[in-house]
Amino acid sequence: MIRVVLPAHLRTLARVGEEVELELEGPATLRSVLDALEGGYPVLRGTIRDHVTGQRRPFLRFFACEQDLTHDPPDDPLPGAVATGAEPFLVVGAMAGG
């Protein structure tokens, strides 16, 4: 079980609380977590990754276990504590704007 923490606007869109719990069939990677998140909550498609390019939106970051995983290869394994659900995977909106 993977725990995902979303920024406030995406919680509102997906109509969820602070944390979302996901079940993955394969290894926990950036790509597999985001695929499962979008599969479970189709309204989030296009809000984290661009529909056409599949690339992360520029003002979003991915953190876990006090590490910035944003630029890690999308198919690298996430930290073990994320894979076991001990620590959450955080989708974070960059501090910018007004």
Binding site: P7, H9, L10, L13, V43, R45, G46, T47, I48, D50, H51, V52, R57, F59, L60, G93, A94, A96, G97
Partner: protein, 371 residues
């Protein structure tokens, strides 16, 4: 008794104002989609409780919301705006070619007859259409693929398709406008397009009379005379009496012919409204006086409408989609400012009062006249 519903898009959410036909007391609902930019929301002429909203964010991209109960509740629908095929390039600010990239939906224009069909004008400039109430969107790519496409370039606000006019007498005819490419017309329901910019003169481009490259800010028509178009250009107020085949300047005695919105009286097709702005580098009213100008002669002869509007120290702007007119008698005129005020006139512009005054910066105003 009939009533009106005013739909307001702002930098930080949407607001819906309602009143009965007297239009003297207003109920304010919102913010809807708090914190998101709402470039535009509009109701279906065929089914007024069906409404669509463009919701966007620099962080999270584009959403489209749909309401079937007059804006009380909303459901997100499709948000995938994929250009048809390989999108190619257009001219960038520095003169280089730049890939077409979707940024946001500027304007939503519901079909006149089918509540499930909506046109979306987007940045980078293209026209999309849904026929399933927003679940899926398809590009009408004949516009972007026009031979002049690679020469289109963005205005300061981005290369946006901001105006979509549907001809009520001819379902195959659509007018659109792009900053800064100009106006285009389709006579085959959006399959093919041609520029309709003859007569426009823009000093900021190498050939002032070029076929494309004009920064058209807004076009308006009266539904009873769809061949007569009125245009607020970057500079110049223009009119066409032949569906855009040719344009004549009608700026006349305006204190400035720079501005953004333009609209037409509900019952007098030769009565039009603009809000003069000082210049392209000073986006506020001349002399700090917020004045709507009305022409009852289809242009050239203009009168200032000031009663109830601030006549000193006013330095707001009124954006291109932020004016609307209801169809009561006499018609109501509404406009919103970048300072968050929405002003309304119940007497076709003779007098004005704010109906809400401390919203986030207003991006768009639409009004529905309800039975």
């Amino acid at each position: 008794m009939s009533g009106v519903r005013v739909l307001i898009g702002t930098r930080k959410g949407a607001f819906v104002l309602t009143s009965d036909g007297k239009r003297d007391r207003w109920n304010v609902s919102g913010p809807h989609f708090a914190g998101w930019e709402i470039y535009h929301l509009k109701g279906s002429p065929a089914e007024p409780n069906r409404m669509y909203a463009s919701q966007s964010s620099g962080w999270f991209g584009q959403m489209i919301q749909c309401s079937s109960d007059g804006g009380k509740t909303w459901e997100p629908v499709g948000n995938e705006f994929a250009y048809d095929g390989v999108p190619g390039t257009h001219q960038w600010y520095d003169g280089t070619q730049h890939p077409w990239q979707f940024a946001r939906v500027w304007h939503l224009e519901p079909s006149l007859t089918d509540p499930d069909t909506v046109y979306a004008g987007v940045e980078d400039a293209a026209l999309f259409r849904t026929i399933d109430a927003g679940r899926t969107w398809q590009e009408l790519s004949g516009l972007r693929r026009h031979a002049s496409g690679p020469s289109w370039q963005p205005g300061a606000g981005g290369m946006c398709l901001h105006t979509v006019l549907l001809d009520p007498s001819n379902p195959d005819r659509i007018f659109i406008a792009i900053s800064a490419a100009g106006a285009f017309r389709s006579d085959d329901a959006g399959t093919t397009w041609r520029p309709i910019n003859r007569g426009l003169k823009s000093e900021g481009i190498p050939n002032p009379s070029a076929e494309v490259g004009h920064c058209v800010h807004r076009i308006a028509m009266h539904p009873s005379r769809p061949g007569v178009l009125f245009m607020q250009k970057h500079w110049d107020v223009m009119r066409s009496d032949d569906a855009g085949e040719s344009w004549q300047e009608v700026s006349g005695n305006l204190p400035s012919d720079f501005g953004f919105p333009i609209d037409v009286h509900a019952h007098e097709p030769e009565t039009i409204y603009v809000v003069p702005i000082k210049s392209d580098s000073e986006h506020f009213p001349p002399d700090g006086k917020l004045r709507v100008y009305r022409s009852r002669t289809g242009g050239n002869e203009w009168e200032a409408l000031t009663k109830g509007l601030p006549q000193s120290d006013c330095y707001v702007n009124v954006l291109r989609d932020a004016m609307a007119i209801d169809s009561l008698d006499s018609c109501g005129v509404y406009f919103g400012t970048t300072g968050g005020q929405v002003y309304a006139s119940r007497d076709a512009g003779d007098s004005w009062a704010p109906i809400v005054r401390d919203l986030p910066s207003v991006l768009s105003v639409e009004v529905q006249t309800l039975p």
